[in-house]
């Protein structure tokens, strides 16, 4: 089971450690640093590292590494899921999961970690249970606490802990009863050089914000549930009902949570709302070239597209760029990328001249420019085999 946890920031400082069994020396992290060095890029650090006596399983979230130490055979997914849950909880408690936030609330962090895991076994990970045990810090509460001497640790057993619905606490009361559902869909697509779709699928989630009194029992039905290829449910959803009637029936947790996530991958159903064209050329006998990219809405979609962001990851050999967007603004990060955020465009034409440091690398440059296009109602990415993302939030009551 999970033995210890180290939080490490980007510059390689271990700024928090927590041990659930015996104390493991910080030196175990050296193996992690070694792997990090080898990986060059922070995102490329392998998530499972074996050392002579331990295994290190890590995640990278919000510029922090959560490195857990385990000693016995444990399902790695279990550890990774748990670490993400820890990060989610920090986010939930402190508004952000950053080194500063954690250091500012180190005692709460420690109390939380102790509450979440006992001897390596997860204890309470549901946010509403945790919040009953340890109240999130607010300015008002700290003022009240300092006056009354009360603490932010709950002294009764959380009500939901043992019920069949651990995600909901009893006795919730609201004057305005309301429930919000956000349907967010992302199109994830790979489009080849000629502009035709190689692969496209929709990743969708329904996030809910429920503020209802008592024990509400909700059901939600879809117009055409057969479209969904695969669904993952929050534990509150009654699976049998879904199997038989394709209706989502559930007693919701209180507050924000992700109700379901789903996937639609049948390609003919996934329509990409924009088109992208590009052109790359090199000047003869010089190390310069020209890269044009054109993005515009597809005619048949009938919706306006806003807030397009194009991100182009240039290979390292590119030394400098001159950018000329037809609309919007741009920035160039000399380390890796170009990011011109463009707004309200019907059609964008971006021209750039770039300098290739070395001869002979052109070929590899040509077909691996990475372009990520984000739009406000949607989010996308492309070029010669680059993915698209599209997002469209709906709000309904």
């Amino acid at each position: 089971m999970i033995h210890s946890l180290f939080l490490i920031n980007c510059s390689g400082d271990i700024f928090l450690e927590k041990h659930w069994k015996s104390v493991v020396s910080q030196s175990v992290c050296d193996y992690f640093f070694e792997a990090q060095e080898k990986a060059a890029d922070v995102e490329n650090v392998p998530p499972v590292i074996s050392t002579p006596h331990h295994y290190l399983i890590s995640i990278y979230r919000d510029k922090l590494f959560f490195v857990s130490v385990i000693q016995t055979e444990v399902p790695p997914l279990f550890v990774i899921e748990f670490l993400h849950r820890v990060a989610d909880t920090f986010q939930d408690y402190f508004g952000e999961c950053s080194e500063a936030a954690i250091k500012d609330n180190v005692v709460i962090v420690y109390e939380l970690l102790e509450e979440m895991l006992d001897n390596g076994f997860p204890l309470a990970t549901e946010s509403n249970i945790l919040k009953e045990l340890i109240k999130p810090p607010t300015i008002l509460r700290s003022v009240v606490n300092s006056i009354t001497g009360s603490s932010n640790v709950g002294d009764t057993l959380p009500t939901g802990q043992l019920s069949n619905i651990p995600w909901r606490r009893a006795g919730v009361k609201y004057t305005n009863n309301e429930a919000y559902f956000d349907v967010v869909e992302e199109i994830d697509a790979i489009i080849d050089k000629s502009g035709s779709t190689v692969f496209a699928e929709i990743q969708g989630v329904i996030d809910a914000c429920i503020k209802l009194s008592g024990m509400p029992d909700l059901s939600l039905s879809f117009m055409n549930p057969r479209l969904l290829d695969d669904v993952s449910f929050h534990p509150c959803i009654r699976f049998k009902r879904w199997e038989s009637e394709r209706v989502l029936s559930f007693i919701p947790p209180d507050g924000n949570f992700r109700l379901i996530s789903y996937r639609v991958s049948s390609q003919n159903l996934v329509a990409i709302p924009v088109y992208v064209k590009h052109c790359i050329s090199f000047k003869e006998n010089s190390s310069c070239g020209r890269f044009d990219i054109t993005i515009g809405p597809k005619q048949n979609m009938g919706k306006t597209i806003e807030g397009i962001t194009v991100t182009v990851h240039m290979p390292k050999v590119v030394l400098n760029m001159n950018l000329t967007p037809t609309q919007g603004s741009y920035t160039f990060d000399p380390v890796t990328k170009v990011r011109p955020p463009l707004i309200n465009c019907k059609q964008v034409f971006l021209q750039s001249l770039f300098c290739d440091g070395r001869e002979g690398r052109r070929k590899s440059l040509m077909s691996w420019l990475k372009v990520k296009i984000l739009t406000k109602p949607g989010e996308h990415t492309v070029l010669c085999s680059c993915p698209w993302l599209w997002r469209e939030p709906h709000i309904c009551c």
Binding site: T72, V74, I80, V106, E111, N119
Partner: protein, 942 residues
């Protein structure tokens, strides 16, 4: 007002100041001080000096302060065991607190204080808490047992906590059940032998019920526990699968993968003909694909597991190729894994898409990824023959890019393509040769040299090319040196006239100037070959090479089956069994897939038997429907077969055909080859099928005129223990000679050669009469049958048991040892018939205490049948009497070492299907009696 203030230190000496604050009267100040201490602790600062002061703060009503002190205690108690005792009283008191939260907290913390002295105080409170009325306390206490076990295993056993824990599996609260399972699993892991999780259908049912109601983490524990259970038949497996399937839609990916593990394992037991099997296959694909849209770390673990699943059951994801296409923002470790799976899924149907993708990847910027992509193109060519042409032209395009590492990688794979499709793509050699100068990696250089050597006759300037490599011979890596040596020898054999000088040069370089023994040895061998017999040299060096197999990097089937049992664990990420890497090697139990056992007969067809099931389809299965057949076969055992009496029998379902086949083989003599599968009617049940294989085994044994009973071949040496070599065999005795019929199967991925066999000394001096002759190298998945003649003139040593034979088999990989028991009747000699007088005299002569009595049950044979059957195994009937309606047979036999055994066999009349034979044996060496009895039983019952 943030906690970061706790990190600020004053100049005066931090510890000193904290000490003062901790001893302050003001509650608020105390709490602040403890917080400061905790803050120092979180960054790994040593604050153990404050131990007594912090422990003093423990007696408080303030829960937050209490929790903080507990946090401190857990970290430092171990360094101050004597001080830690001070805290015990408070813990014991807290365990009685009316508030369940505090009771649970106390027992939880106490378990975390890893001090031996505390454990004895812990027992009583823990016992109470395990029986607490509040489930929250019970579930915390369950975990505490695991903690205590970690500190003092003996204590836990002595106190009977394990039994209490087992009782908790039947608790009414699912959370308690889940924690009990988790605790038991952890304890069981350190004691693999103990049968802690005694799983039976009842407890499985309880777990399945709890599965629906407990938390996501509890579900993982329960699913992992379920995966260790072996259902008794396919119906049970199916019903468990049905109840586990809903977990595939869980939002927690660890739950999903654990459910996949259970399903993959139990699927092994389901017949492929079931509708449910197909449904299950369809249900498995979507959740696996969905795992790929999670965070990259989760994707990585999922991909490593999918890699295993794709190898085991490619049908699950065969239509999902596109989801494995690499995205631009995948981390490199995800990209590499996706690439691997893409190649595994590549087939004729999707090869065009795959190639187009791979070509894109080959122009990426990440070097590792590009290399792997280029290699992948080569692997596609080898795997999908129809695509080879396109792959080769893609590779040529890539070579044209002149990007150094792309070219090198391409050359390495083109070498493999040449070996798979010889004489097909040699036209590209010219292009390859152009890039000779840019090669700087040993593998690429070696590959190029191999190509030049292999096709020396088609390359005009081959000698020049190789000579250019020779200049820096000593700076090359061994790989290149060896290749260069072989290539030049090849060249010489092909163009002897103009390259004599070159070959002299390389041979002297290799033999005289090198200190690498491999190189030197190879040099000498070539030299001598060339100087003594150039024709032989040609035959050796230019021999036709075996084609390389389709997939070079598959996991060996036995390992794969084991790894399937470990889906979702570290083993599945490393693709190694836990025994290979788990710390301390605590005697990890090997897991294996369950063999398929059908509750209803004859639903399976023989060819669907699970390939890797270790015990399900061993040859020693006794045919269930084969009784009739068995009888027929026994008829067969009689000396010369005169006409086909069998054809008239009433056996249905094409048995006539089968036996006809068997007879043909009899005529065919000992070189009997199993008839092609087509001769076997497809509607035969599996059990019938195994009866059949017995039949063939028998007939091959009976091929020569007379012979004793031959047991079906049993696996003596499983492939898992012998690096892929599987040996099964049996013993036969035919007209006075004993032989050992062996079947060698190569289940590894490499060719096996150089077989040899040796016996240890044994009770009857059995020894091989000839060396083990395996004529051709044994290529992967090939099986050979060998009959090894034995004699009994070897050295003698009494073994325990008497008929134990220890065998060593050697091949080019290693030496393997196994032991087997031989049936004693192979030692019964042909001249074992005593005359009557002699028999009587000897019987009287042997003292009565040497007599042994045995009973042979369920032998529905009459005296004549018994007598004739035994006679064929050299047990001779000396006389026959009928006493009070019972047939008495007096029999004698002689062993190879001259020991006589006398027998009296009493045949009880009565219900023919329930007849028992009384056997009395007399012998001067009574220890053989037991084995003679076993021989009787085998001969009579088969």
């Amino acid at each position: 007002m943030t906690d970061s203030k706790y990190f600020t230190t004053t100049k005066k000496g931090e510890i000193f100041e904290l000490k003062a604050e901790l001893n302050s009267d003001k509650k608020e100040k105390k709490k602040e001080a403890v917080k400061k201490v905790i803050a120092s602790m979180t960054v790994g600062k040593d604050v153990s000096a404050l131990f007594p002061d912090v422990v003093n703060c423990m007696q408080t009503d303030n829960l937050e302060l209490k929790k903080l002190v507990y946090l401190y205690l857990m970290n430092y108690a171990k360094s101050q065991p004597d001080m830690a005792i001070m805290a015990v009283n408070t813990f014991v008191k807290d365990c009685e607190d009316p508030n369940p939260l505090i009771r649970a907290l106390a027992v939880r913390t106490m378990g975390c204080i890893r001090v031996d002295k505390i454990t004895e105080y812990l027992c009583e409170p823990l016992r109470k808490c395990l029986k607490d009325e509040d489930p929250y306390v019970r579930k915390t206490a369950a975990v505490c047992v695991a903690k205590l076990h970690d500190i003092n295993a003996q204590l836990v056993e002595d106190q009977g906590f394990l039994d209490t824990l087992k009782d908790l599996i039947s608790d009414s609260n699912p959370m308690v059940v889940a924690n009990a399972v988790a605790a038991l699993s952890e304890i069981a892991e350190s004691h693999p032998s103990s049968n802690l999780l005694d799983l039976n259908p009842q407890s499985i049912n309880k777990l399945l019920t709890a599965l629906n109601e407990c938390t996501e983490w509890g579900q993982i524990f329960i699913l992992d526990c379920l995966a260790n259970y072996t259902p008794k038949d396919d119906r049970e497996a199916q019903s468990i699968c049905e109840r586990v399937t809903p977990r595939l839609s869980h939002a927690n990916s660890a739950v999903v993968l654990s459910a996949v593990k259970v399903l993959m394992k139990f699927m092994e037991m389901l017949s492929k003909d079931l509708d449910y099997y197909g449904t299950l296959l369809k249900k498995l694909a979507p959740p696996l694909v969905t795992l790929l849209s999670a965070e990259p770390e989760l994707q990585y673990v999922a991909l490593r597991n999918i890699n295993l699943i794709v190898q085991k059951r490619p049908e699950i994801l065969k239509h999902e190729m596109k989801v494995f296409f690499v995205k631009y923002n995948d981390p490199i470790y995800v990209k590499l894994e996706k690439l691997d799976i893409m190649i595994r899924l590549a087939s004729q149907a999707n090869i065009a898409q795959v190639l187009a993708e791979l070509k894109e990847y080959a122009t990426e910027v990440d070097v590792d990824f590009v290399r792997k992509a280029v290699r992948a193109i080569g692997r596609c060519a080898i795997k999908v023959e129809q695509s080879a042409e396109r792959c080769v032209s893609t590779l040529l395009d890539l070579i044209q890019t002149k990007v150094n590492y792309v070219v090198q990688e391409a050359i390495v794979v083109i070498k493999d393509i040449f070996r798979k499709y010889p004489n097909k793509y040699e036209s590209v050699i010219a292009t390859l040769c152009e890039n000779l100068d840019s090669l700087d990696e040993p593998e690429a250089r070696a590959a190029m040299i191999w190509i030049v050597g292999e096709y020396a006759e088609r390359i005009d300037n081959a000698d020049e090319l190789l000579e250019s490599f020779l200049e820096g011979f000593h700076d090359e890596s061994t790989q290149v040196q060896l290749q260069l040596l072989t290539a030049i020898v090849k060249l010489f054999l092909k163009k002897p006239t103009e390259t004599q000088e070159l070959v002299q040069q390389v041979l002297s370089l290799a033999t005289q100037d090198s200190d690498n023994p491999d190189l030197r040895d190879r040099g000498y061998i070539y030299w001598r070959l060339l100087s003594t017999d150039p024709v032989a040299a040609k035959e050796v060096v230019l021999a036709e090479k075996p084609l390389i197999s389709e997939e070079t990097d598959l996991i060996e089937p036995t390992l794969l089956d084991e790894l399937i049992c470990y889906i979702g664990t570290l083993a599945s990420v490393y693709h190694k069994p836990p025994s290979a890497f788990v710390e301390g090697g605590r005697g990890v139990v090997h897991k294996s897939l369950p063999p398929r056992t059908a509750s209803s007969e004859s639903t399976e067809s023989p060819e669907t038997a699970p390939a890797g099931a270790p015990s399900g389809e061993q040859p020693d299965v006794i045919p269930t429907q084969g009784d009739l057949l068995g009888d027929l076969l026994n008829l067969d055992l009689g000396p010369p077969v005169s006409g086909p009496p069998l054809a008239t029998s009433s056996v249905q379902m094409g048995a006539v055909d089968l036996l006809g086949g068997g007879l043909d083989s009899l005529i065919g003599g000992p070189n009997f080859v199993a008839p092609p599968a087509a001769a076997v009617p497809a509607n035969l049940g599996a059990s019938m099928g195994s009866g059949l294989s017995d039949l063939f085994d028998l007939t091959s044994g009976v091929g020569t005129l007379s012979g004793s009973y031959v047991a079906p071949k049993a696996v003596w040496l499983p492939a898992m223990k012998a690096k892929g070599l599987e040996i099964s065999g049996t013993f036969t005795r035919q007209v006075g000679s004993i032989s050992m019929d062996l079947q060698l199967t190569n289940k590894a991925l490499q060719v096996m050669t150089d077989f040899a066999i040796q016996f240890n000394r044994n009770s009857f001096g059995l020894a091989p009469a000839a060396p083990l002759q395996v004529h051709a190298p044994l290529s992967p998945n090939q099986t050979v049958e060998i009959s090894l003649p034995l004699n009994t003139v070897g050295s003698v040593m009494k073994m325990e048991p008497l008929n134990n034979l220890q065998v060593a088999v050697k091949n080019n990989i290693d030496v393997f040892y196994f032991s087997t028991l031989y049936p004693l009747h192979i030692l019964f000699v042909e001249d074992g018939k005593m005359d009557r007088q002699m028999f009587l005299a000897t019987w009287k002569d042997i003292p009565n205490e040497n007599e042994a009595q045995f009973q042979i049950r369920d032998c529905p044979l009459n005296a004549e049948a018994v007598s004739s059957r035994l006679q064929s195994s050299n047990i001779f009937t000396v006389a026959k009497r009928n006493v009070e309606g019972q047939d008495m047979l007096y029999q004698s036999l002689k062993l190879t070492n001259g020991i006589w055994v006398l027998a009296e066999l009493r045949i009880q009349p009565g219900n023919p299907s329930f007849m028992a034979l009384q056997l009395s044996l007399k012998c001067r060496a009574p220890e053989v009696s037991q084995h003679v009895y076993q021989a009787y039983e085998t001969v009579l019952k088969n």
